[in-house]
């Protein structure tokens, strides 16, 4: 079936590169001025009557020609094209020059790296019993064919990030999930990894004062390795090609690495909630838009705070497209338990029931239009029911109760919390990669 796609001018490079990756490098694409969204019918009429901003030809002639001009020999080609990523090694050169080479060729986060010499990588490989040539998984930071990678290729990136060999099983676990921390969307996504189990103490991870800050090497380096893995092993994070985040997200430098403060929490840790045993070492991944401190939420000035209401107030401004992640200091967890929330589930039940929105507000959000409305048309719930309700009806902020998760960390210097607009994606065994 002869088909022609229409793409706005801002995504020309992305469109051209993507069709090439998918095997149709000569696909006849028509371009319009950008944006198409938020335009009146009259403005779009002018687009249609005007010229393709890339070719300069009348847009409708471009479309008709795309469907009727006979194919060229190139457009009819078949066969397999191998893709090269360059030589196995770079150099020999000075460390300074190599550092700059890695930067200039987009293989870093533009912070200094540890040059991945053969010796450094061999040392990193001692952190796992898995063979260097074993395929760990595959990953794509967008809607393009994923790249695959071996234990050794992950090790190279772990060295660059400044990891120690003992961190390597955790990085392998993250890599095995196939979850990139750099996604191609025009949204600038943020990612988080919650680490549970005895490994937190074995690696001296920080889950006390400054748990989310730059105060411990494993917290910093593991998160950074995830970004370099996403960049190099998945070919992610190339602006204009595999990264289109309009503003970017500073959290992508080393992501949100959260070692749960299991000892100070009155509740079961996250990995046990996800079906693992307490003594297992597990990393659980989240994807979303970011995290916001809870100071200033309604009720924070009262002498008898109801933290669940503060969580709800903070989450009320989040889109429900992503889940809600409560990151609570142990002081808050103790308070909640004392007031009857003796399990995370009870807190989650309350939040799901009491964090609400009107149907009108829900429909006005772009995520609802782009993702939920099409699901409603397919008959999927709760979207189908929500879209059939009157505008003043009240519905939950989140489609599903399981969209809400709770993690306890912090140093108990104050009863503070943060709220993540973050969805749980998967939990992976770290022990498997030792």
């Amino acid at each position: 079936m002869p088909t022609t796609p229409i793409v706005t001018r801002a995504f020309r490079e992305l469109a051209v590169l993507n069709v090439a990756k998918r095997g149709m490098p000569h696909l006849r694409i028509t371009f319009t001025p950008h944006p198409v969204a938020a335009k009146t019918p009259e403005q779009l009429h002018a687009y249609v009557e005007g010229n393709d901003p890339v070719s300069g030809k009348p847009m409708m002639k471009e479309i008709v020609d795309a469907l009727t001009t006979p194919l060229s020999a190139d457009e009819m080609k078949t066969g397999l094209v191998e893709v090269s990523v360059g030589p196995e090694k770079y150099g020999p050169d000075t460390a300074r020059n190599l550092q700059q080479f890695y930067h200039d060729n987009g293989m870093t986060d533009f912070l200094p790296i540890v040059i991945p010499t053969e010796e450094e990588v061999d040392e990193m490989l001692k952190g796992t019993s898995h063979h260097p040539d074993e395929v760990v998984g595959k990953m794509a930071g967008g809607a393009y064919p994923p790249w695959s990678y071996t234990v050794k290729q992950v090790a190279i990136n772990a060295v660059m990030a400044g990891c120690k060999p003992e961190y390597f099983p955790t990085i392998l676990a993250i890599a095995s999930s196939g979850t990139p921390s750099l996604m191609s969307s025009t949204n600038s996504f943020a990612y988080a990894a919650v680490i549970n189990g005895p490994i937190r103490d074995k690696l001296n991870m920080n889950y006390g004062i400054g748990a989310l800050g730059p105060f411990a090497q494993p917290n910093a380096a593991i998160g950074r390795a995830w970004t370099l893995v996403s960049r190099n092993l998945a070919n992610g994070g190339i602006p204009g090609d595999t990264y289109m985040g309009s503003q970017g997200n500073n959290l992508n430098y080393n992501n949100l690495i959260m070692a749960e403060n299991e000892a100070a929490s009155p509740w079961v840790p996250l990995h046990v909630q996800k079906g693992f045993r307490a003594e297992e070492n597990v990393v659980s991944l989240f994807r979303g838009l970011g995290i916001v401190p809870g100071q200033g939420a309604r009720g924070t000035s009262t002498d008898t705070p109801k933290y669940e209401e503060q969580f709800s107030d903070l989450f009320s401004v989040f889109t429900g497209f992503f889940g809600g992640l409560v990151v609570a200091d142990p002081l808050i967890a103790a308070n909640l338990k004392g007031r009857g929330y003796d399990t995370k589930d009870k807190l989650i039940d309350w939040l799901y029931k009491n964090t609400t929105q009107t149907v009108k507000d829900y429909k006005s959000r772009d995520f609802a239009y782009g993702f939920d409305y099409p699901r409603a048309l397919k008959g999927l719930e709760p979207y189908k029911t929500w879209y059939a309700m009157p505008d003043d009806a009240v519905i939950p902020r989140w489609p599903h109760r399981d969209d809400i998760n709770v993690v306890v960390l912090g140093g108990q210097t104050n009863a503070f919390f943060q709220g993540g607009s973050l969805s749980y994606t998967v939990s992976v065994s770290i022990d498997k990669w030792t």
């Binding site: 002869p2 006849r28 090694k89 770079y90 150099g91």
Partner: protein, 135 residues
């Protein structure tokens, strides 16, 4: 609390307060040997990239001779404005190529999901398709 910690808390560099320059140069008697022994070492760094899949070239579908009397499906992928743009295209066909039967459909599911039922319908009933908008 030792003196170094105290000075750091005051925001002062202990080295500066001790009278040393910020960058300490080697003593002259060491200059020749220092220069010879600090030639930068050359190393090799490994390629950190993963393994891309080979690309299977897909031949494009044969084109039509013309659109006269043909059914052209206008497929809305779901990005904002795409449906309205396709409506303008449909109106253009009505006014400029009235023998073209332009049929509008919104693809089911979010933009990144396939819609096999729609593809089947288009193959059975259509002659060509225009998809909009890729953002």
């Amino acid at each position: 609390m030792n003196r170094r910690t105290l000075l750091s808390l005051l925001g002062a560099s202990p080295a500066l307060l001790a009278g040393l320059p910020a960058e300490t140069k080697p003593a002259p008697s060491q200059a020749k040997t220092t220069k010879a022994s600090t030639l930068p070492t050359k190393v090799e760094g490994l390629n950190p990239k993963g393994t891309p899949p080979p690309i299977q070239l897909i031949p494009m579908a044969r084109r039509l001779d013309n659109l006269n009397g043909k059914t052209v499906w206008l497929v809305d992928t779901g990005f904002e404005g795409g449906g309205m743009l396709l409506e303008q295209i449909r109106l253009w066909f009505n006014q400029n190529m009235p023998t073209v039967n332009a049929v509008f459909r919104r693809k089911a599911g979010p933009y990144m999901e396939d819609d096999p039922a729609l593809w089947k319908e288009i193959k059975e009933k259509g002659d060509a398709a225009i998809m909009a908008v890729g953002h």
